[in-house]
């Protein structure tokens, strides 16, 4: 089984976002970068598949030089080799441009399984995996929480609103991983040492005119101060008001009906 996992290297989810001077991107100073969490589920499933069905796992990432650190992490967890698509000189790549570049790698590599996270945390577009599938001409199953392989076919459960769709597909296929698929492993010390000897092949990103363009990036307006309803529990009430859960409950219900008009 020849698998490829496409990983995004993104700001840590705890990062405080600041807008850069250009008004269109984030200020990257002091940002800690991580492998996008959904891509970790994808990588874990590819490695598990290698452990049970044999084969190889290649990781691919498009971005600046720092993405090599992310690739090295994936190699330490058990991927066999890596491809870094250097975006230097191509700052305008949008999701479609990224998909086009990844599609080329996937076409050339003739992989059985191409894995993605269901979204790259940060851009939050949820589009690259399915775009790659269309560009390469492969079937895809998105948002999967269960994966199994038997007799050259795969079966997945895909999460939809209030239900799961069980989907069967021939190989090769593109898959996007959702939380719940597995518990990603940590890199072992042995893995970290072994990763140092593995190769990261470098190739330049190809230009692509952006299909979507960011005009401006802004922080959301600060929320209005909270309207505290007095009369909570005596032990914890900060306002010193006498405890009256029933009274506070009636007041909250009244505010939601008469002021906010939502119930």
């Amino acid at each position: 089984m020849k698998s490829v996992v496409c990983v995004a290297y993104v700001p840590d989810t705890e990062t405080k976002i600041r807008v850069a001077a250009d008004g269109k991107s984030i200020d990257e100073s002091g940002v800690k970068w991580i492998v996008s969490p959904y891509d970790e589920y994808a990588l874990e499933e590819a490695i598990k598949t290698k452990e049970t069905a044999g084969g190889t796992v290649t990781v691919v990432s498009l971005g600046p030089e720092r993405n090599k650190t992310g690739l090295r992490e994936c190699l330490a967890r058990g991927a066999d080799d890596a491809i870094w698509i250097d975006e230097t000189g191509q700052p305008d790549l949008d999701a479609f441009g990224v998909a086009k570049n990844l599609a080329e790698v996937i076409r050339e590599g003739a992989y059985d399984l191409a894995w993605f996270g269901q979204k790259g945390v940060g851009g939050d577009e949820s589009v690259v995996g399915a775009m790659v599938a269309e560009l390469v001409g492969l079937p895809h199953v998105a948002n999967i929480v269960h994966f199994s392989l038997a007799e050259g076919k795969l079966t997945c459960d895909r999460e939809i609103e209030g239900a799961h769709e069980r989907v069967e597909s021939p190989l090769p296929c593109v898959l996007t991983a959702q939380k719940g698929l597995n518990e990603p492993r940590y890199a072992s010390l042995k893995g970290i040492m072994a990763a140092k000897k593995k190769t990261i092949v470098e190739r330049p990103a190809q230009a692509s005119e952006p299909k979507c363009r960011v005009r401006a990036l802004e922080l959301p307006p600060p929320p209005k101060p909270c309207h505290f309803v007095p009369g909570g529990d005596p032990k914890t009430s900060a306002d010193g008001a006498s405890a009256d859960p029933a009274g506070a409950a009636r007041e909250l219900a009244r505010l939601l009906r008469e002021e906010a008009k939502v119930i």
Binding site: P11, T13, E14, D94, A95, A99, V121, G122, D124, S126, V127, A130, M131, V132, E134, H140, A142, N143, R158, E159, E161, G162, A163, H164, E165, R166, V167, E168, S169, K179, P210, K211, R213, V214, R215, A216, L217, E218, L219, P220, P223, C226, H227, V229, G232, D233, K235, T236, S237, D239, P245, A248, A249, R250, L252, A253, L256, A260, V262, I263
Partner: protein, 324 residues
């Protein structure tokens, strides 16, 4: 500007988020728009769309389309696009919409304005506003060099239109049933009964670590029930990771993103990753015993209290108001 809206149905029932997308397109177009629906035995659902702002309904009705497949449904949408030649295509950002929009876009050499919370037309081009970095920032985006302008509006943000006196729409059958489906849906299994999904609810009541254990869900569920049909149960990541409830209930960065009219956070401290999933709710109520909990920074109304005496009283108060 000429719009085409993809309308999602499951078992003949049209999804509310799709009607919101039709309403949005009709508003931007200044009148009824073209729509497309795919499935099997969906004639009645198609005719009904006139009342929601459809002038034309392209109908791909075939047993082969009874269950969703991205190939089959993208095929139907693309067949309608060929006949209608729209400038813009809207697809609600549901699980199905998010699955087929990027595929359809790539097929048409175009991008997607994903999960937009605001959409307008400027000089004949769509301009959208979408949350990025899990709602910590907002990006204003346009369709750049896309041939076709495609946007997926976030569910529960735009109003659906309803006009019972509207004329029946023009029904145009299209053929999309002959495509070879590779990734095939074998079955759809409802998880956890027929509960309303958090992404579709007008009111979401979420429980966090403050509920102390899974045995206390009934306290929260009773409140959900008291709030009525449009209410759904949600949960924080902490309680999902602790195994108190399934992941499908999780609201937040690694769960579902919701924009209900009313969001109640009960015993949830409001970690940044939770705020990412519910920060765009219209009214937020926080019930927490820690007055310093970050959830109070985004809350419209707050009660500093132990939830155990308070929530049952609140459920009672809601029931009393509703029965008035």
């Amino acid at each position: 500007m000429k719009f085409l809206v993809f309308v999602e149905q499951r078992e003949g029932k049209v999804r509310k988020a799709s009607l919101e997308a039709v309403g949005l397109a009709a508003k931007l177009a200044g009148g009824p728009v073209a729509t497309v629906i795919a499935g099997s035995g969906i004639g009645d659902a198609a005719r009904e769309l006139g009342k929601s702002g459809a002038a034309t309904v392209y109908v791909a009705d075939s047993p082969a389309l009874a269950l969703y497949s991205n190939r089959g449904y993208v095929g139907a949408l693309d067949a309608a696009r060929e006949k209608e030649s729209p400038d813009a295509v809207l697809i609600a950002a549901t699980a199905m919409g998010k699955d087929l929009a990027p595929r359809f876009a790539a097929k048409n050499d175009s991008g997607v304005l994903s999960d937009v919370m605001d959409l307008r037309v400027e000089d004949g081009r769509l301009v959208g506003v979408r949350p990025v970095y899990s709602g910590k920032a907002r990006a204003t985006v346009d369709c750049g060099s896309s041939k076709l302008q495609i946007a997926t509006p976030r569910p529960n943000v735009f109003p659906a239109a309803r006009n019972d006196a509207a004329p029946e729409p023009k029904i145009v059958p299209i053929d999309a049933g002959s495509l070879e489906i590779r990734a095939k849906v074998l079955a759809v299994e409802a998880s956890g009964g027929k509960e309303l999904d958090v992404t579709e609810a007008d009111i979401v009541v979420s429980g966090g670590r403050g509920i102390k254990g899974p045995e206390n869900w009934p306290i929260i569920r009773e409140l959900v029930e008291a709030l009525g049909e449009g209410a759904a149960l949600g949960a924080s990541r902490a309680v999902v990771d602790a195994g108190w409830i399934d992941h499908q209930y999780q609201v937040g960065q690694t769960g579902k993103v919701v924009s209900p009219t009313l969001y109640l956070a009960i015993g949830i401290s409001g970690a940044i990753q939770h705020l990412a999933g519910m920060g765009t709710s219209k009214v937020i109520v926080a019930i927490n015993k820690d007055p310093e909990a970050p959830i109070f920074h985004v809350a419209t109304y707050g009660v500093v209290t132990d939830l155990f005496p308070f929530v049952p009283e609140f459920t009672k108060a809601v029931r009393a108001l509703k029965s008035e």
